[in-house]
């Protein structure tokens, strides 16, 4: 693993990300007060996705890693999203 460089994320960035995560968590709770009907899941998942991206990029250093790893995560994300969308083809149209 010689080509691997160690990238160090500075404290300030880490703290910013942490604050962002906390705010997004509060947002999730706040949004749940409203009745968004069919959008409920979409909104909750969108916020969760942003949080996951933050964690992956900074805390797990994906942003500074080789492209192939990023592609792997993206494919995973696409598959995961499709699973949810396909499941909702059932729930949204069920009589």
């Amino acid at each position: 693993m010689d080509e691997q460089k160690h990238h160090i994320v500075d404290y300030l960035t880490n703290i910013k990300v942490w604050v962002a995560l906390a705010v997004l968590t509060i947002l999730t709770v706040w949004v749940s007060e409203f009745n968004l009907a069919t959008l409920t899941v979409a909104v909750a998942l969108s916020i969760a996705t942003i949080k996951a991206i933050l964690v992956l990029s900074y805390f797990m250093h994906l942003k500074f890693d080789s492209k192939i790893l990023i592609i792997m995560v993206l494919v995973t994300l696409v598959i995961f999203l499709s699973m949810i969308i396909f499941t909702f083809f059932d729930y949204l149209y069920r009589k």
């Binding site: 598959i79 995961f80 699973m83 949204l92």
Partner: protein, 532 residues
Amino acid sequence: MTTTTLPNYLEDKQGKKGLMVWLTTHDHKRIGLMYLAALSVFFIVGVLIGILMRLELLNPGKDIVDPQTYNSLFTLHGVIMIFLFVIPGIPAVFGNIALPLIIGARDVAFPKLNLFSWYLYMFGAMLALGTLLVGDGPPDTGWTFYAPYSVKTGTNVTMAVFAAFILGFSSILTGLNFIVTIHRMRCPGMSWFKMPLFAWALYATSWIQLLATPVVGITLLMIAVERMLGIGLFDPALGGDPVLYQHLFWIYSHPAVYIMILPGMGVISEIIPTFSQRRIFGYKAIAYSSLAIAFIGYFVWGHHMFTSGMSGPARVIFSILTFLVAIPSAIKVFNWLATMYNGSIDMKPPMLYAMGFIFLFLIGGLTGLVNGALAADIHIHDTYFVVGHFHYVMFGGTGFAFFAAMHYWFPKIWGKMYSIKHATRAFWVLFTGFNILYFPMLVVGIMGMPRRYYDYLPQFHLPNEISTVGSWITVLGLVYMIVVLIQGMRKGEKAERNPWHGLTLDWQTDSPPTLENFEEIPTVTEGPYEYK
């Protein structure tokens, strides 16, 4: 390469004694053999249960077991065959043994993790079989554990579900190990498109193991939580949705059928060019179709649920997607046939099993399309047509590919050769028995006989009789095959390092290989199938 004087991996005990040589080994070949031993035992148990079921079904009415026992029999048979045999199957045994050899590596990327996966597998397997012995009797839900019944039955479901959960972890770790191995340990010169197709197939499979298995883990845990704490996730009486369970279950279990079949296809892609002494036709098409199958395979799970109350649009979408996945499978079949065309075909046992695979998988695949057609499935869902179909793909497909691999790498593994004559005969007995056993199931299914019942109407008698007779011939074939292989292992003639004249790296090293596989890590300059 010169012949080494180092002991081969079977003799090289690294200073350990007795069973410890095996139980603490980090060698991929030994670990592969430990899986082989365990899988063989479970397979035989599974087959015995299958035979019992067929005996019960010989005549209408009760023959040997009562209904409740029968329910447990098919559940155990399914759980053992699926979770303990076909899912780990080829990757755990032949992936472990052959992957490092064909990519020119000394071992997998994480040898200790590899051993740990084996222990997880054994632990999960013991738990699964333990359901027989403790609690209120073995589960009777079918291998699918459908809610709400699985939440309510008094039988030992929680333990079985937990077992499947542990087995899932073993599968995930093996997948992870292989992905890293393939990315990082290919020998110099082996670019992605110089890699043998078995490695491609394992790569695609590993991704499914890694990404799909967690879903079933969570789902099964949800069942356990619902059973123990009464949280209403799936039980409508508690506000849950049973169809959600089916979604979650099949989101894993459908990709899992590609975990079963893709490595099998990889084995076939190795055997066909070797025994035709021809360059494989459409190398890239086969490699990419593995990835395509793995990818599309994630999106077709709904075809198991056409009759379970899913919405209309969802059913149509899943039916269309199901037809899509047939395309890459067909690409492979056509490429294999084109490879054989004009080749000098050598009908040795590995090739026979490979051709048996193509024939049986074709029937399995095409009957799969019948199931995938929305309108047709409404009629045949949960009939014996489905039972016939999935035995053709899982047993005729993966099972035969497993046997093909066993005959193909046998001389490499043991450094000895089995009797070609008897192995050939065993194949024909097995192949004949197989079709007599399962073809009538397709017919009686179309006639309307439902699956998972210990009894049936008198008009279904004849096909059931034929099928039961077929099960005896099948077992005869299996016993014959096993005896021939064990004889070969014990007393067979010494095998050369390359008895089949293959070009992949596994055949360029000793039979059996040394602990480190290669004296010197090889460098490759051309593709793996450059025959003439």
